[in-house]
């Protein structure tokens, strides 16, 4: 039977993949053709979704972006054979956008049936865990240290060092908490991974548990991701049934259990200590540090908090060795960057490339510029707390240090592109409004100052004493910067200040006109 693939991914379905799948089934039936429809994960080439693939002798052949109207036509042309059609893209692996990427973490995404353990294992899954089960905890930790892997959630803290702290903190009970709160606008890599390759997260968490001596794990998943929830639930059940989770992992006699906890629509709960409070069933108030979560985390016990992508990357490190992973990247940014091209972008989606590519190359060449066809004006990198970058900064290489040098951050890899219709005063206003809405409320500058900031921007917009109100706004940024317990209040000045610094005309324009 011919295999036909149509992603079941959130974005693919948001652009009509379910309707295409239904139409393919209907047309095949009409023509009396026997096909097997597999709802694979997405390859992350979202600009080509719904991406329909058929298995030919030479490999998988893709058509996209598919529409329901084109399906009957496609069957008339000879589908599921690799027929000619205006939407034919050729061999999937030859699509330049995908071919130029270095996929390590997203190596299986879009190729496999997300819930098929067989698929997962055939393409290298559980190799890392198998190796880890033959190693001592200290050896696993050492491999992660050597790989140079840094946290992909935003703060870029060296993962191996965090694990070493938990390993060396004696306790009867330790926990792993996978941070799947992915709140940053412009990011979807965690979601894509959980929907396309959920076993990888399970494997990464299990390796982590073996490394630090934990027997319980939580996935803190944001409530905005119902499909990821569904996929993860099933994947956990599959893994349990195959003894890859539970009381005797792979026959090793070691135990590890995973529970999913669903968030409740609070951005701040992505901050690790707020997440721990939320996991404990409380309001997501940020905790003072120290104590570090690695020493006193969930329910007061040593806890590894890692982002989904960090835990996923560990499977590659353990499967292929620390040196293999380390060989990608530049300087102190090792491995691959999972950039997410979002907003006003022609070829948007997930781009996994070694650190060090320039922002301009990523947006203009890989991303193909704006979808509106207008010039790019500003690029916000690193989520809502990230800097807005003007053209003079786009030649910066995408690595942690180079971005820090220009007063910016890579964060979780979100890259939001704006064309020249953007009003940067509105963007600055939104950053402050977002801070006011999502503040946990513990610090006055963040809770009250942000509201005051919105008022100031409104005054500036109304030409009300622009110069002095801009000065007051700068003072306020200074207060947020120095008087905030966490990066929510502490980094809100980044988008605000960069908007003013690089796009001053949007703030004074009102006064001039």
């Amino acid at each position: 039977m011919v295999k036909v693939f149509i992603p079941g991914d959130t974005t693919a379905c948001a652009v009509g993949a379910d309707e295409v799948a239904a139409e393919v089934a209907l047309q095949a039936q009409k023509k009396g053709l026997e096909i097997e429809i597999i709802r694979n994960g997405s390859r992350g080439a979202f600009w080509l979704e719904p991406l329909l693939e058929t298995e030919a002798d030479t490999g998988r052949i893709a058509f996209g972006p598919m529409t329901t109207n084109a399906v009957a036509e496609l069957f008339d042309a000879g589908f599921p054979a690799a027929c000619e059609h205006p939407l034919k893209l050729g061999k999937v692996t030859d699509i330049a956008w995908l071919a130029r990427q270095d996929r390590l973490t997203f190596i299986r995404a879009g190729i496999t049936d997300p819930l098929s353990l067989k698929d997962y294992k055939e393409l290298g899954g559980f190799e890392g865990l198998k190796n880890a089960l033959d190693m001592s905890p200290a050896e696993i930790v050492e491999a992660v240290v050597q790989s140079g892997l840094r946290g992909r959630g935003g703060a870029a803290f060296p993962t191996g060092i965090k694990w070493r702290t938990v390993l060396n903190t004696p306790a009867e009970q330790k926990y792993i908490a996978a941070n799947a709160d992915e709140g940053d606008s412009g990011t979807f890599a965690d979601r894509l991974l959980m929907e396309a390759d959920p076993f990888q997260l399970i494997e990464g968490m299990t390796i982590c548990a073996m490394a630090v001596g934990a027997s319980e794990g939580f996935i803190y998943l944001r409530s905005e991701y119902p499909k990821a929830l569904h996929t993860l639930k099933h994947a956990i059940t599959e893994a349990k049934n195959a003894n890859l989770l539970g009381d005797d992992i792979g026959g090793s006699g070691r135990r590890f259990h995973i529970q999913i906890r669903v968030g409740a629509g609070a951005y701040i709960c992505g901050e690790e200590t707020s997440m721990l409070e939320s996991l404990e069933g409380k309001r997501g108030l940020v905790r003072f540090k120290p104590p570090l979560p690695a020493i006193e985390g969930l329910f007061g016990r040593p806890t590894v908090v890692n982002n989904v992508l960090t835990l996923a990357a560990v499977t590659t490190v353990l499967a292929n060795g620390a040196d293999h992973y380390r060989n990608y990247g530049t300087g102190r940014s090792r491995g691959t960057l999972t950039a997410q091209l979002a907003g006003n972008i022609r070829h948007g989606g997930l781009v996994e490339i070694p650190f060090g590519t320039s922002l301009r190359e990523l947006v203009e060449q890989i991303g193909g510029g704006t979808i509106t066809g207008r010039p790019v004006r500003a690029i916000q990198v690193g989520g809502p707390l990230g800097t807005y970058l003007p053209e003079t900064r786009w030649d910066t290489p995408l690595d942690y240090e180079s971005f820090a040098d220009i007063g910016a951050m890579l964060g979780h890899g979100g890259i939001v592109v704006f064309d020249n219709s953007v009003d940067m005063l509105e963007q600055a206003r939104f950053a402050l409004e977002f801070c006011a809405t999502e503040s946990c409320g513990k610090c006055t500058p963040c809770r009250v100052g942000s509201v005051r900031g919105v008022e100031l921007v409104d005054k500036i917009a109304n030409q009300d004493q622009v110069t002095s109100n801009l000065e007051l706004l700068e003072d306020l940024c200074e207060t947020l910067d120095s008087g905030s317990l966490c990066a929510m209040g502490g980094l809100t000045p980044m988008p605000v200040r960069s908007a003013i610094k690089y796009f001053p005309q949007d703030f004074t324009r009102a006064a001039e006109s």
Binding site: T187, G263, K282
Partner: protein, 155 residues
């Protein structure tokens, strides 16, 4: 349907029993109650608190902290409109105006016929195909005013 299935207190007490012994079980419990009743009635707070060994203030504090939890009845379908940057870059501000006018409600509101509630959301993870909205559990991409009307008419 049995009477207990319609009785909020019965639903709450069986949900409490289920989550009572799970450490940090308050959030899963509240999600469960909201999934079944559509909201978390104020007069259930006392029994939630008693069942979970918490004070009423603590339970109320949690319900009010999280945007997802509501203590008032909601429309049949909640429409979440993404207000975040990636969607802004693709016209979410205009869409927002249209949606509010078309539904005749602001954020937090419910249409007079009880069919829809409107909520803001900050990212649905669909940022390469913005603007995005979520209706119930379905996410829709590249939604402009015309597409929104179409979705509403077909729902």
């Amino acid at each position: 349907m049995s009477t207990s299935a319609n009785n909020p207190l019965a639903i709450v007490s069986s949900a409490v029993q289920e989550h009572q012994n799970s450490p940090g079980g308050l959030l899963p419990l509240l999600h469960e109650i909201q999934a079944q009743l559509g909201y978390i009635p104020k007069d259930c707070v006392a029994s939630i608190a008693a069942g979970m060994g918490l004070s009423r203030a603590e339970v109320h504090g949690v319900i009010s902290f999280y945007h997802d939890f509501h203590d008032q009845p909601r429309g049949q379908t909640t429409i979440h409109l993404c207000r975040a940057e990636a969607c802004q870059a693709m016209g979410a501000r205009e869409l927002e105006k249209h949606v509010k006018t078309r539904l005749g409600i602001d954020y937090g509101g419910t249409t007079a016929d009880g069919r829809f509630s409107l909520e803001p959301v900050y990212c649905l993870g669909n940022c390469a195909c913005s603007p995005s909205i979520r209706m119930g559990d379905d996410v829709f991409a590249r939604v402009d005013a015309h597409r929104f009307d179409e979705l509403l008419d077909n729902s």
